[in-house]
Symmetry: C2
Subunit: 459 residues, 2 copies
Amino acid sequence: MVNTAAQNIPAGRVLIDPESLERYRHDEAEWAPHGMPLAVVRPKDTAEVRDVVRHCISHGVPLVARGAGTGLSGGANAVDGAIMVSFEDMDQIIRIDPDERLAVVRPGVVNDDLRAACARVGMWYPPDPASSPWSTIGGNVATNAGGMCCVKYGVTRDYVLGLEIVDGRGEIVRLGRQTAKGVAGYDLCGLMVGSEGTLGVITEITVRLRPARPVERTIAGYFDSVVAAGEAVSAITAAGVIPSALELVDRHCLAAVDAWRNMGLSADADVVLLGRVDTPGAEGDAEAALIRDCFERAGATWAAQSTDQQEADALFDARRLAYPALERLGPVLTEDVCVPRAAVPEMLARIEKSAARHDVLIANIAHAGDGNLHPLIITQPGDDAARARAQLAFDDILDDAIALGGTVTGEHGVGLLKMRGMDKEMGPAALSMQRAVKAALDPHGILNPGKVVARADAG
Amino acid sequence: MVNTAAQNIPAGRVLIDPESLERYRHDEAEWAPHGMPLAVVRPKDTAEVRDVVRHCISHGVPLVARGAGTGLSGGANAVDGAIMVSFEDMDQIIRIDPDERLAVVRPGVVNDDLRAACARVGMWYPPDPASSPWSTIGGNVATNAGGMCCVKYGVTRDYVLGLEIVDGRGEIVRLGRQTAKGVAGYDLCGLMVGSEGTLGVITEITVRLRPARPVERTIAGYFDSVVAAGEAVSAITAAGVIPSALELVDRHCLAAVDAWRNMGLSADADVVLLGRVDTPGAEGDAEAALIRDCFERAGATWAAQSTDQQEADALFDARRLAYPALERLGPVLTEDVCVPRAAVPEMLARIEKSAARHDVLIANIAHAGDGNLHPLIITQPGDDAARARAQLAFDDILDDAIALGGTVTGEHGVGLLKMRGMDKEMGPAALSMQRAVKAALDPHGILNPGKVVARADAG
């Protein structure tokens, strides 16, 4: 069966050895189940992807597309007997066009590599998930990845103009456009973004770019409680300022980063807020002063605008490294709820209560300015009782987010971990529409089956 | 049959008199065909909309949802025997929440009314189609309306966070979210935006708001040719400035506005470019100066930053009134192509050639900064030969836009007028996906049938 799939693909790019299968069979969501794939294929172009999709249709084999495997919901985890399609050999930046403010790339391009290439011609690709040194644009599009700057600049979907995909019938299809605007037909390009490989396999991506922006100012504030920090966030929103980043990192995270990288960041504070402003000139100075003022009025024990770019970058690097640093300490169950901004203090308080109720350690990082919180439930390796308690805390947090008018996933995607939560959030009528779309665009049921939504006929 | 539909709806809100049927049977696309509706229903709430949808499902009656009827592609035109659902009695602004930066409205709210209500609490709803004094948010969402500020601030889809709809099965469904971010399931909220009532009937809309912005600076430039003006537009993009508006108006449009409103605007120029900048402070001054400089270097015969806000507003009012002013002079066949920014001069040159080739008058207004052009083909009332020539010019312009890498509709929608053009633009594989989605979400085929895409089973 593998030989048929690979009839046009050289042996070196079809992997069936146990080590390779093991390496590609799951993403970073270690709590999500994963099966054993049949093979890993590393196509070099769209025609090869189409060949694999057609093979899967003919033989009823599941196909799981995969970027760098940095996903946090299990969306790229193997289904038993699946062919994993991995895009490391389709990592070309095809074109960067400053005049049209767009870039055309293959899915395997690493996020930071695209950003660096854009910077060399005076342009900027904004979406910046914490995984940006490793994660790929294809994976970012498949999960509609967010990041730190989306509080001001939006998420991946806001930057995807056009896609080439192989659809569920094995056809190569172009969706979207290469122009600034366009409303020809249904927005199937936007529909593909965030569909986690369940509606089509992405083979080329056209992203919108922005002109390079001025250097950011960084404002840091230390707080004695997550609730006080949450109030500072609400005050900033109420003041009408949109920062270019507004991140929350608690001392568990800073300590874990210090333990790993010895950056000397462990703060004399329970919670650190990191604000950034990229508005130029006097207006930017005023925004930075206002953010500092909001920190202080919400009870910050210390607040200042950084005068040292290296120090400011170190703070944001710590934020970016928090997740891998915590992972070193034991299995991490990652949350990704998003609540209305005004509900951030209440949601943070409820997370603290869940931690106490279930006797688990919960570290917090958050895109606080978006109300997108990442409570990280940490357990000791091998402690099954702790894992069970962590699962209870996880479920409580999802229920609390829904109760506060929020969503179970702000940016990580549904994958496997959030399927039950999504069912609760949506209700039967919306789920039925989701399933109808899945059945319409994946008529053979081969595209990453069992993720995001169950099929209509399985419904 | 009408009585069944209306069993719970008071007689005053079910219209079957010939005058009413005539009044509601078409939008502003006078070249598009329209049938004779069975009745017009003006529901007062979502439950009544659901009743009408269920009636239409039971009896196989087409349902056409309609806003203010300012559409330009025939999307809201009656299908023979249809029930027209008109939203003038569902025009409530339910909530404006400055802290969450969102508003919740019923579909019948007029665009300018929402903008004014937001301004009263220091907020701003950006999407500003030229029809904003009349068109409704429901219609704007159904067509994914653009406008003047979208060169910097995006189109309607970028502002729709959540929807309540009645779906093709007659169920009330909530799509999207009320939080800043969210990736739970497929983006069916985004899919509804721009689907022109063919996938569901919108009954409530949650839109994203921005903080109120500073007063804009206006820069005007006169040019001897559309091509020179197009080169000024390309130069602005290449300079890395994103204006808050960049509009092109030709002398046919200015003359028509003067003839109607006596505004004294007719310029000693073939083409006027109107730029706006809303960046505050010295940075904004620099941007305004740079735009003027781009105008001059592209060969403007006159260019200046307006020092008189009234004069600046009059120029933009003229742009906004161009379409109705031209309509007074005879039937207008409205184009809406969007091309890559660098192709604007070439596209404008081709439009001039089409006008000459087919011996028709073509006036031009354009969201030039987006490459979104509105050539307006004008004929004399009753001149059937001219109408036939206009249709040929229309088809040529669509072909030229596609050849230059553009789209047949930048913001007006497909409706009826652009169905053939969309077929050409997309090709069979993408069309097949469009039809599969239509069949999945409108299983009874009652939602604005025959618009945007034909149903899958109609091939």
